[in-house]
């Protein structure tokens, strides 16, 4: 989702959008296939629920396709799609919060989610990763979104501002506070684990 994609890529995307607007099924499918995994990864990290994330992705694509006529190709489709996805996700989280009160992050199931990767790495590294993700889950919604978009999806603060519909300064503030909270929550990690992980990850 890099905004600095080459002009050729942008041109190709514009052509794809133009075909999709005319109802070209192949073009629509290509758009879905190009963006679904990244959108799902982001939404799943926000909701931590596979079914919810899948529903939200579907909803986001359908809304995007329904409004494709209003989309301007001077923007990246992916940023636009993430903006819609984030908005649908917020609606879903708000509904859930209305039903259950505050979001209960302790109910988020971490069991087995990193099982596949843990089998390939040391127990210490697996535990460290689990602690980091638990800490991410405990961030507020905008903090979590900003942190995920910055680190995992490699968006700049300007791009995150567009997705979250915040001023850039607010995004930086969310990132700053998110990092601060992560640091507080991970204070219990010992120096040896950190050193080992850093040397392993190069």
């Amino acid at each position: 989702m890099n905004e600095n994609a080459s002009g050729a890529d942008r041109q190709q995307e514009a052509q794809l959008i133009a075909r999709a607007r005319e109802g070209d099924r192949v073009a629509l499918r290509e758009l879905v296939d190009l963006h679904k995994d990244r959108l799902f990864a982001f939404i799943w990290r926000m909701t931590r629920n596979h079914h919810d994330a899948e529903d939200i992705c579907q909803e986001a694509f359908l809304k995007a396709f329904a409004s494709l006529g209003t989309f301007s190709t001077k923007y990246r489709f992916s940023t636009w799609l993430f903006t819609i996805g984030y908005r649908v996700c917020l609606n879903g989280l708000r509904r859930k919060r209305n039903v259950t009160g505050e979001l209960d992050v302790s109910a988020l199931s971490l069991a087995g989610e990193n099982g596949a990767s843990q089998s390939l790495e040391s127990e210490e590294a697996g535990q460290l990763k689990q602690k980091v993700w638990e800490a991410v889950d405990r961030l507020s919604i905008p903090q979590r979104a900003a942190v995920l978009l910055f680190y995992r999806h490699e968006l700049s603060c300007q791009e995150i501002a567009r997705v979250l519909e915040f001023p850039v300064a607010t995004v930086k503030s969310h990132l700053h506070r998110g990092r601060g909270r992560l640091r507080e929550m991970l204070e219990s990690l010992n120096e040896e684990d950190l050193h080992q992980f850093r040397s392993l990850s190069g």
């Binding site: 799902f40 509904r95 919604i141």
Partner: protein, 228 residues
């Protein structure tokens, strides 16, 4: 550089926005100060993990196909959860009806048929003691006193009937609970579907403002800024 000053530079450093001179000063402080070294290491390691850890879940392979089917047939635009519930609710309801029929809930008529509830065999035939006939022992009545035997048999039958009635009541109650849960879930699902269709009608630009962590966000009206 003091720790306080160094920590104020952490974000700019992590965002890659620190000038070379300040980056050098921060690096020098980091070498000297174990606390700042550790704080920065925590942030760097967290960032590395968030950036590179493998995604443990993926979308179903047929997601694209199902999505395009929804585009072509808007009436299929039910949340996936609703569709899944519809898939399971039908057989569940059928099973409940069969279970009720099996328990004899719908049977208000012929009392002569035996019914089996929760392992108890209920026989509605009253054991009859026929004078002059020897007891077979089936009824458990071995008293030579005919009147006493009849009374004893009647008492046993009433106890058995009470036990069977209680077992049936409990089974029916548990079934009712299961049916109530299903109905409750249905109401939730219908409410969700109603919300979803309501929000569709307002897109784009007319969605209700959201309250998230005290910050009210603007209604969606995208895109907002030019890319470049």
């Amino acid at each position: 550089m003091r720790c306080e000053e160094a920590r104020q530079l952490f974000d700019a450093y992590l965002d890659g926005e620190l000038s070379k001179s300040l980056a050098t000063e921060l690096a020098a402080h980091r070498v000297r100060c174990p606390a700042c070294r550790r704080a920065l290491a925590l942030l760097e390691v967290s960032g590395q993990i968030i950036a590179s850890d493998r995604e443990p879940v993926t979308l179903d392979e047929d997601f694209s196909g199902r999505l395009l089917a929804c585009v072509e047939a808007p009436e299929r635009r039910w949340p996936l959860r609703v569709r899944r519930t519809l898939f399971y609710a039908g057989p569940l309801a059928a099973a409940a009806v069969i279970a009720l029929a099996f328990l004899g809930v719908f049977d208000r008529g012929n009392g002569a048929q035996p019914h089996e509830v929760a392992g108890h065999k209920e026989t509605r035939e009253v054991p009859v003691y026929v004078p002059g006939e020897e007891s077979t022992g089936d009824s458990g009545v071995n008293s030579p006193d005919e009147t006493a035997a009849a009374e004893y048999a009647l008492e046993q039958w009433m106890k058995q009937a009470q036990q069977n009635s209680e077992a049936k009541r409990q089974s029916v109650e548990s079934l009712h609970k299961a049916l109530d849960l299903t109905i409750g879930q249905w109401l939730d699902i219908l409410e969700e579907a109603k919300d979803a269709s309501a929000s569709e009608e307002h897109f784009p630009g007319a969605d209700t403002p959201l309250e998230v962590d005290g910050n009210e966000t603007d209604p969606i009206d995208i895109p907002v800024d030019p890319v470049d």
